[in-house]
């Protein structure tokens, strides 16, 4: 039982790390109806920029806000060069554009900062909490707990932003219908810059946490692949859904790997979340918290 609890808790904490990446997808989809394939590349770009500035001699606490400024500039450039000419185009067109953006951002990051693996020290020890280890025999990393705390603060803030602020409501209106939003005077360009900027901020937070865990390197872009089943489960338009989806994916993949893996040769956590998401899609296509699509025929 103690081992099961350890697997479950470990999975839940890993799931929160997935949620951090999934959140970026949700933000952009929720506010613009675009599935941003480039979110993983943005995570890599943000983390590499922060650690690159830090390596140039800036303190990390100065490098982080500077990186945020870079992410805002990136958001403005994306809006002006990529999105503005494509207003009211089909979703698939916008999706294809974000695939192109992925390769561009990955290349840009490496052209500016190089392709070396970099260490990122956030000052949070990634060691098991001694109290839990001594009393319950369970190894839970204090880094994971801090990451979970950051995720919850982020989600609470974003949920408030979307439901309680004027900008948040405007974002939702834009997501529903670009043209209708424009017709009632919502400035589409500004909204897109805001939402891509916020997604850039989320990418920065996710990149810093994942980078501190494994080193800042190209493989950060792969974390986005784990965010996809999280989105399917949680729903593409729900901020709390990204967290709940992450928790389910994290816990289930660990339990499957530990208890089912040995019977099928192991290494199943790479594909198990996708199978789970596929099964879930059959039962509830809009995800746990996604908006149900009703169309009049």
């Amino acid at each position: 039982m103690q081992f099961f609890l350890e697997v479950l808790l470990g999975g839940l904490l890993t799931g929160i790390m997935y949620s951090m990446v999934a959140l970026g997808f949700v933000l952009i989809y929720k506010a613009s109806g675009v599935f941003n394939f480039a979110q993983g590349a943005m995570v890599f770009f943000a983390a590499l920029t922060a650690v690159g500035l830090h390596d140039l001699g800036l303190s990390l606490w100065l490098a982080i806000p500077l990186t945020m400024l870079v992410m805002i500039v990136l958001a403005m450039a994306i809006e002006k060069i990529v999105l503005r000419p494509l207003v009211n185009q089909p979703e698939i067109t916008l999706f294809m554009v974000t695939i192109g953006l992925t390769f561009f951002i990955e290349g840009l990051a490496q052209a500016i900062w190089g392709a070396s693996v970099r260490k990122l020290e956030m000052g949070i020890d990634d060691v098991p909490l001694e109290y839990l280890l001594d009393t319950l025999g369970i190894a839970i990393s204090q880094f994971d707990l801090v990451a979970a705390g950051i995720a919850f603060v982020l989600v609470a803030g974003l949920a408030m932003f979307f439901s309680k602020t004027k900008v948040g409501r405007a974002l939702r209106a834009v997501a529903d219908d670009h043209q209708a939003a424009l017709s009632i005077g919502i400035p589409l360009q500004q909204i897109w810059v805001i939402v891509w900027g916020v997604a850039g901020f989320v990418a920065l937070v996710a990149g810093l946490l994942w980078g501190a865990r494994n080193g800042v390197q190209f493989a950060l872009t792969f974390v986005a692949l784990k965010a996809l089943p999280v989105l399917i489960l949680g729903g593409f338009t729900s901020v709390p859904g990204a967290i709940v989806g992450g928790l389910i994916i994290g816990a289930s993949e660990k339990i499957a790997e530990v208890y089912l893996g040995p019977y099928v040769g192991g290494g199943i956590e790479g594909w198990f979340p996708y199978v789970l998401a596929l099964l879930f899609l059959l039962a509830r296509p809009e995800g746990l918290f996604g908006e149900k699509i009703i169309r009049r025929i």
Binding site: L13, T14, I112, P128, N214, F218, V223, K226, E269
Partner: protein, 436 residues
């Protein structure tokens, strides 16, 4: 931006250089300097280019200058095959090829034999390709994965006070879930049966940036040792997750693709005391000083970050360069000094390499790599490895002598594997007694 500018300039210089002289010896470099494995690719190919630049600075190989052209593969097998096809006929034809990728090596395995271009696979690829009768154009030089795995078991046995002391022990093989990770299975299984230790195999799905479930299983199994067979992000993640789960780093022994600075520095303190295999003894050598003086001093160095000169991957690239150049030199001894060698002739050079201690001393690289002596039967030429340990700031060798596992057992496996391949591909193995 500096990197992009430098790449553009390098391409321009190389293109100009390769067009200028048709009597140069051409070596295509299907390299990878961007993407997920750029750290390994930039260090290795940077080291090889630095060594070739040094050879040119010293007058070439009996007057024959080396030229090379890079093609970015991003470690992608299909792109690697495309690069090989694009470069193989350039500048009078390729003398040899080294893709530094198991996937690309498999992709061009049959092509190199058809095109008569020797391929080196330094420390990776098919272990049974060491049998030159079946694989005349493939050279897994120095040490294959199988010999390395045998070396690992020998080292762990010695650590315990003798191989027999491994009886009843538990060893986890934590591997990248790919052909690379599964390559040593037959060796570990054979040793487990022979010596009586329990072998637990745990797969890590690609790319390996999340390993909590594997390390929880390790925590539960309480193994005596963990053999880490990783690549790229899997390595620092393994070390960090081991720390997170309270498993001592000193009990982890990595494959040589888990033993570079890029694998341990991102892991910080979690990597302190961790050991890995290597076929280079870490340290400084007169050869590296010569590269710094003559190549970097002349502004022709290939490494953007000069602190990486002499690092694990850079030294591995320099090692590759030494063996390539010595194979061409050997070929010239037979087919004509000062002449440009064909791929077929260079293949002969690789098959008759004899880089002994005297040669290494003359090159300023004594101890940097083990002596290498190849034959028609043995395209590996050594089988020796060392163990190095990370002290928090640099790698240090912890085995004073080269470690060699049970070569007789490995040779038997190599011949069985090669014979099976020959049957599948309908290849008639060469008769080595007839080779000159």
């Amino acid at each position: 931006m500096k990197v992009a500018l430098k790449t553009l300039l390098t391409v321009a210089v190389l293109t100009a250089g390769s067009a200028a002289l048709a009597e140069d010896q051409f070596i295509p470099l299907p390299s990878y300097r961007v993407g997920p494995y750029a750290a390994g690719g930039s260090g290795f190919f940077g080291g090889a280019v630095d060594y070739m630049s040094l050879v040119n600075a010293n007058g070439g190989i009996n007057g024959v200058k080396l030229i090379w052209e890079e093609c970015e593969t991003e470690y992608n097998a299909s792109r690697g095959v495309e690069c090989y096809e694009r470069l193989k006929s350039k500048n009078g034809g390729a003398s040899m090829v080294e893709p530094l990728s198991t996937g690309i090596a498999y992709g061009i395995l049959d092509r190199v034999a058809q095109d008569k271009i020797p391929m080196t696979t330094l420390g990776y690829g098919r272990s049974d390709a060491a049998d030159g009768r079946v694989f005349p154009y493939v050279f897994p030089l120095i040490t294959s994965y199988w010999d390395q795995a045998a070396g690992m078991i020998k080292y762990l046995g010695e650590k315990e006070g003798g191989l027999a002391k491994l009886k009843g022990k538990k060893i986890v093989h934590l591997y990248h879930d790919s052909a690379f990770g599964k390559e040593p299975f037959p060796v570990f299984e054979a040793y487990a049966k022979e010596l009586g230790f329990e072998l637990i195999k745990l797969a890590v799905p690609h790319p390996g940036n999340e390993q909590q479930s594997q390390w929880l299983q390790i925590r539960q199994a309480k193994p005596d040792y963990v053999i880490l067979w990783g690549w790229g992000v899997m390595n620092p993640t393994a070390l960090k997750t081991a720390q997170r789960n309270g498993y001592p780093t000193s009990k982890i022994l990595g494959v040589w693709w888990s033993g570079s600075e890029e694998d341990v520095i991102p892991a910080g303190d979690a990597a302190k005391g961790y050991s890995s295999m290597t076929f280079n003894t870490p340290g400084n050598y007169p050869l590296l000083d010569e590269i710094k003086k003559k190549v970097y001093g002349a502004g022709k160095g290939n490494m953007e970050d000069k602190s990486r000169i002499g690092s694990t991957y850079h030294m591995r690239g320099v090692t590759a360069g030494i063996l390539w150049v010595e194979a061409i030199r050997k070929a010239q001894e037979k087919f004509g000094k000062g002449k440009v060698m064909t791929g077929e002739q260079v293949r002969w050079g690789f098959e008759n390499l004899n880089v002994d201690e005297a040669k290494l001393k003359a090159l300023g690289a004594l101890g940097m790599l083990p002596p290498v002596k190849t034959t028609c039967l043995d395209h590996e030429g050594s089988g020796a490895v060392k163990v190095q340990q990370w002290d928090g700031s640099k790698w240090k060798s912890i085995t004073p002598n080269w470690v060699v596992g049970d070569r007789a057992m490995i040779r038997k496996m190599v011949e069985e594997g090669a014979a099976k391949y020959a049957t599948e591909k309908k290849i008639t193995p060469r008769d080595c007694s007839k080779e000159g």
